[in-house]
């Protein structure tokens, strides 16, 4: 159960990363900072005495707006530049945001202390808050899939990811698509960060862990493939849970990265790379 939920969260972070990568050819290092912002948005909402679940959509919307703002102000001017300059911009935002969070909230780990009890589900006791988080994650996936496949804008995003130049010739406003994509990616990261708060204590640097794992997931599923990313996320989530059960300490992280390296050697295109039409 926890494995599936973790997997879902990893997958949400990774989907955001992979669509940004697909459309703009940039590895968004600031993704970890977006995840962290999502966590602290929930924290702020919970501090106001409101339900932390309210913080989930708030985090998504807030990060979407921030993502669009960052894309418009700092990434759009660099679309024609080398890929490394866009990478550097995301690094810059990542440092500033994480430092700002640390300055505001301090480096100590926080915990939501949310206890809604457990319910029995087919003979297994399930923590209620985690169940709700899983439902939110599932709904998010459905929404993203519908958006990308059934709406005009979503198709435009996929078209731009396929071929930027052709998309522009076909009358797609690629600059607008860039902004929406980056906003969507950031929003998903924020949402995932919000869900993390229901699973584990968090600090300003936890986003980095999720970013690293998201890289593994993305490569596991094949860069740019959304179904691949979902499967990759679940695989890594299960590796995480079973790894931490059978191995001492945080060796499960080593395990995840070893799987990543092994994959590079034996199947560099990812488990689904090249075969999934996305």
């Amino acid at each position: 159960m926890l494995g599936v939920l973790l997997g879902a969260i990893y997958a949400i972070v990774s989907v955001g990363l992979t669509i940004i990568f697909g459309v703009m050819d940039v590895v968004n290092i600031a993704h970890s900072a977006f995840v962290a912002l999502g966590m602290y948005t929930v924290w702020m909402v919970a501090q106001r005495g409101l339900s932390p679940f309210l913080g989930v959509p708030v985090a998504g919307v807030l990060l979407f707006v921030l993502g669009v703002a960052i894309q418009r102000s700092a990434i759009a001017p660099l679309v024609e530049e080398r890929q490394s300059s866009r990478l550097l911009v995301t690094i810059a935002f990542s440092i500033v945001i994480v430092a700002a969070i640390e300055a505001t909230f301090g480096p100590t780990p926080r915990n939501l202390d949310l206890d809604l009890g457990s319910i029995e589900l087919g003979g297994v006791y399930v923590i209620r808050s985690q169940l709700y988080a899983l439902v939110v994650a599932a709904v998010t996936f459905a929404a993203v899939w519908v958006f990308l496949h059934r709406t005009h804008t979503g198709r435009a995003i996929r078209g731009t990811a396929d071929n930027r130049t052709s998309a522009a010739y076909a009358g797609i406003d690629v600059e607008r698509i860039d902004a929406i994509t980056f906003g969507l990616g950031a929003g998903l990261a924020g949402l995932a960060g919000a869900l993390v708060t229901f699973v584990q204590p968090f600090d300003p640097y936890l986003g980095n862990t999720y970013l690293t794992i998201a890289f593994v997931v993305v490569v596991l599923g094949g860069l740019g493939s959304i179904p691949g990313t979902v499967v990759g996320g679940l695989v890594v989530g299960l590796l995480h849970v079973f790894g931490s059960y059978f191995l001492p300490g945080t060796y499960y992280k080593v395990l995840i990265l070893v799987v990543f390296v092994a994959l590079l050697v034996f199947r560099p295109t990812g488990l689904f790379g090249g075969s999934v039409d996305e």
Binding site: A92, V96, G249, Y251, V261
Partner: protein
């Protein structure tokens, strides 16, 4: 800026003459050696200049020796990073791996086996080179480039981070404490790589930077450097004309790892202890990239200029407002400004100023006119 006042302006003409003479000097064959030696001579006397006070104001009030040492340390690491990521264009975000291996090896060898840290440093370099060969062998063989290369390098660094956090033989998450010199049979001093004062450390790290800079200059001017530039600009074309691209990229990565490990070794011998998060963490990757990115990726002067700019700006900021995260915020903001306003880094600014002066004085040098940012001023 004062040099925009019009073609008839006398100041403009004077500036034009100065720039013109500077430029002809800059084009002479001895320009680089003279500049390099001059810059390092300046750096060598800088600690003494900290104490000099003119009208009650001294450099010492802006810069501390500690800040200078750290600036030199990151300049050394960034210069090494530049060998593979600047010259050969293979952007690495995982140099913390080499830095951390370079930090751990001498400490562990000195503590467990009484090996001199200097030998340990070379051993650390060897380990880092071996790791670089694993990394490079896997990535370059499968033709992993660009964004994918960034991902893989980062993953390799994180792999070591989690490994060192979990292996208790090297201290686990709490790391390794630096042994006293008698643990390996010496007293404080150069032989021990440990000093009671800060000043000798300054000269050690300055020497490291000098060696790496010399290597960078030699590589840049050699045929290898030419091949690396060809790979950076168009790898397929480079391969098509017969350059063994995998071998040259691997060489650049190994050389880079070798010297990055030196920076790590210095870190280990300078601070009282090391922890995995501090030497292998994501922030180290970023700290290594920042000076080069700010000064100018792919240039020899860039990492040094960038490291000192960063250190000076954060020290100035610290005097205005003091909180521990300030340095990170300053680094991020400066990086953002540089990438957006001066994509070539700070070292490209003199060329831009020269172009501006040329325009004011009515001269045209088409070489300088390529900068796209200029059109905005019109």
């Amino acid at each position: 800026m004062s040099d925009r006042e019009g073609p008839s302006n006398r100041v403009g003409r004077l500036l034009g003459a100065v720039v013109a003479s500077l430029r002809t000097a800059g084009e002479r064959w001895y320009a680089t050696p003279v500049l390099t030696v001059g810059a390092f001579a300046l750096l060598a006397v800088l600690p003494q200049a900290l104490d000099v006070r003119v009208f009650g104001v001294g450099l010492g009030s802006i810069l501390s020796l500690q800040a200078l040492i750290l600036a030199l340390l990151w300049a050394t690491a960034a210069q090494s990073w530049n060998l593979v990521s600047g010259f050969a264009g293979q952007f690495s975000l995982g140099h913390a791996a080499f830095f951390g291996l370079g930090a751990y090896t001498p400490l562990v060898l000195a503590r467990e086996f009484g090996v001199s840290p200097w030998l340990g440093m070379l051993a650390g370099s060897a380990v880092a080179v071996a790791y670089a060969c694993c990394l490079g062998g896997l990535t370059f063989r499968y033709d992993i480039r660009g964004s994918y290369f960034v991902l893989v390098t980062l993953a390799f660094a994180e792999l070591l981070l989690y490994l060192f956090v979990n292996v208790d033989a090297v201290g686990g998450a709490s790391g390794v404490v630096k042994p006293l010199p008698d643990a390996y049979g010496t007293a404080f001093g150069l032989v021990a790589f440990q000093f009671r004062e800060r000043l000798p450390y300054y000269y050690v790290v300055l020497a490291f930077l000098a060696v790496v800079t010399l290597v960078a200059l030699l590589v840049q001017r050699s045929q290898t450097g030419l091949y690396l530039r060809a790979i950076r600009d168009d790898e397929d074309a480079a391969r098509a004309v017969g350059i063994p691209t995998v071998r040259y990229k691997l060489f650049a990565l190994a050389l880079s790892a070798f010297f990055t490990a030196w920076a790590g070794a210095f870190w280990a011998m300078y601070f009282p202890s090391i922890r995995p998060r501090v030497v292998f963490g994501v922030l180290v990757n970023i700290d290594i990239v920042l000076p080069a990115a700010i000064g100018g990726i792919g240039t020899v002067a860039g990492p040094i200029v960038g490291a000192f700019t960063l250190e000076i700006v954060s020290e100035l900021g610290r005097q205005a407002v003091d909180f521990p995260e300030l340095q990170d915020i300053v680094g991020g903001v400066v990086l953002l400004l540089v990438v957006l306003k001066s994509p070539g880094g700070l070292v490209s600014l003199p060329g831009k100023v020269a172009a501006l002066v040329d325009r004011v004085t009515g001269e045209t040098r088409s070489v300088w006119d390529r900068d796209p940012s200029r059109t905005e001023d019109d």
